[in-house]
């Protein structure tokens, strides 16, 4: 039967996977993949609580804003990655040691 804990478990798995990706990878784009997973886990939780506990649509609104923020984050983050690659010719996270080039 589909209940709240099953959704919580899925979002738990997504969150842990995102966390592992963020820590284990050293490539900046790969780290951004992990961030997307974590944001999705959070958004999924909001939608699940809306259905089973809260039952007004505020959770959906917050999920929408999470998706909007994820899109903005991806755009700016990838722009930074490409700029970083132009300057340093690397996208290794350990090469990002300066705030100003």
């Amino acid at each position: 039967m589909i209940t709240l804990p099953s959704y919580l478990f899925i979002s738990f798995v997504l969150f842990i996977c995102g966390l592992v990706v963020m820590i284990a990878r050293k490539n900046i784009v790969a780290i951004m993949l992990g961030i997307e997973l974590i944001l999705n886990a959070a958004a999924l939780n909001f939608a699940a609580y809306t259905k089973f506990i809260n039952q007004n649509l505020d959770g959906h609104i917050i999920s929408l804003f999470i998706i909007v923020i994820a899109a903005a984050e991806a755009a700016v983050g990838l722009a930074i990655v490409i700029r970083f690659y132009q300057i340093k010719e690397s996208i290794h996270i350990d090469d990002a040691t300066q705030l100003q080039s």
Binding site: C17, I23, L33, A43, F52, V68
Partner: protein, 178 residues
């Protein structure tokens, strides 16, 4: 019945995709698995009768974010040096056993914390389920009444992100002394 089939399929795709993102050794493949995982999440939204959220997930992620990521991977995928500026050998970009064990340790710690939290949360009495109905009109109403400030702020955020990304990625003269 259909609900459960859709739920199980989406859950398998979501979790399988997420695990494949973790253990894939090829960044391009990881990005494709991420696409699968995000599609699974869209399916889960559909089972949570959040139809507008599911469609938004498809539009934003499949059409926007994943293609942007693929572009970034392609544009930055050249041959890269394996030593840093001090001549020390770097950890490979996709991680090695050391980083994975550190990440695994962190994952274990965080999952204990999350279990502690989720144990109470999952025990919350479910108030029954919402009936299947369209959420589009209600969401539209809420966005321009209760949440209008957040709505306008997010539009400013998106405009700022658009201009910022364009300014940051604009080609400039690369200084020689870096």
């Amino acid at each position: 019945m259909f609900d459960q089939i859709l739920f199980i399929l989406s859950a398998v795709i979501t979790m399988g995709g997420a695990l494949a993102v973790v253990f894939s050794n090829n960044l391009m493949h990881a990005c494709v698995y991420l696409l699968a995982s995000l599609f699974g999440v869209a399916g889960l939204y559909a089972t949570l009768n959040a139809d507008f959220l599911a469609a938004t997930q498809l539009v934003v992620y499949a059409g926007g974010v994943v293609i942007l990521m693929l572009f970034a991977i392609m544009l930055t995928g050249g041959v890269q040096s394996t030593v840093n500026k001090f001549g020390i050998v770097k950890v490979p970009g996709m991680g090695n056993a050391k980083t994975y064990s550190a990440a695994g340790l962190a994952a274990v710690v965080i999952s204990f914390v999350l279990f502690k939290i989720l144990k109470n949360a999952a025990a919350m009495p479910a108030k029954g389920q919402m009936a299947y109905e369209s959420t589009v009109e209600k969401l539209g109403g809420l966005l321009v009444s209760d949440h209008v400030l957040a709505f306008e702020l997010s539009s400013i955020l998106l405009l700022g992100a658009l201009v910022g990304a364009a300014v940051i990625a604009r080609p400039r003269h690369i200084k020689d002394d870096v």
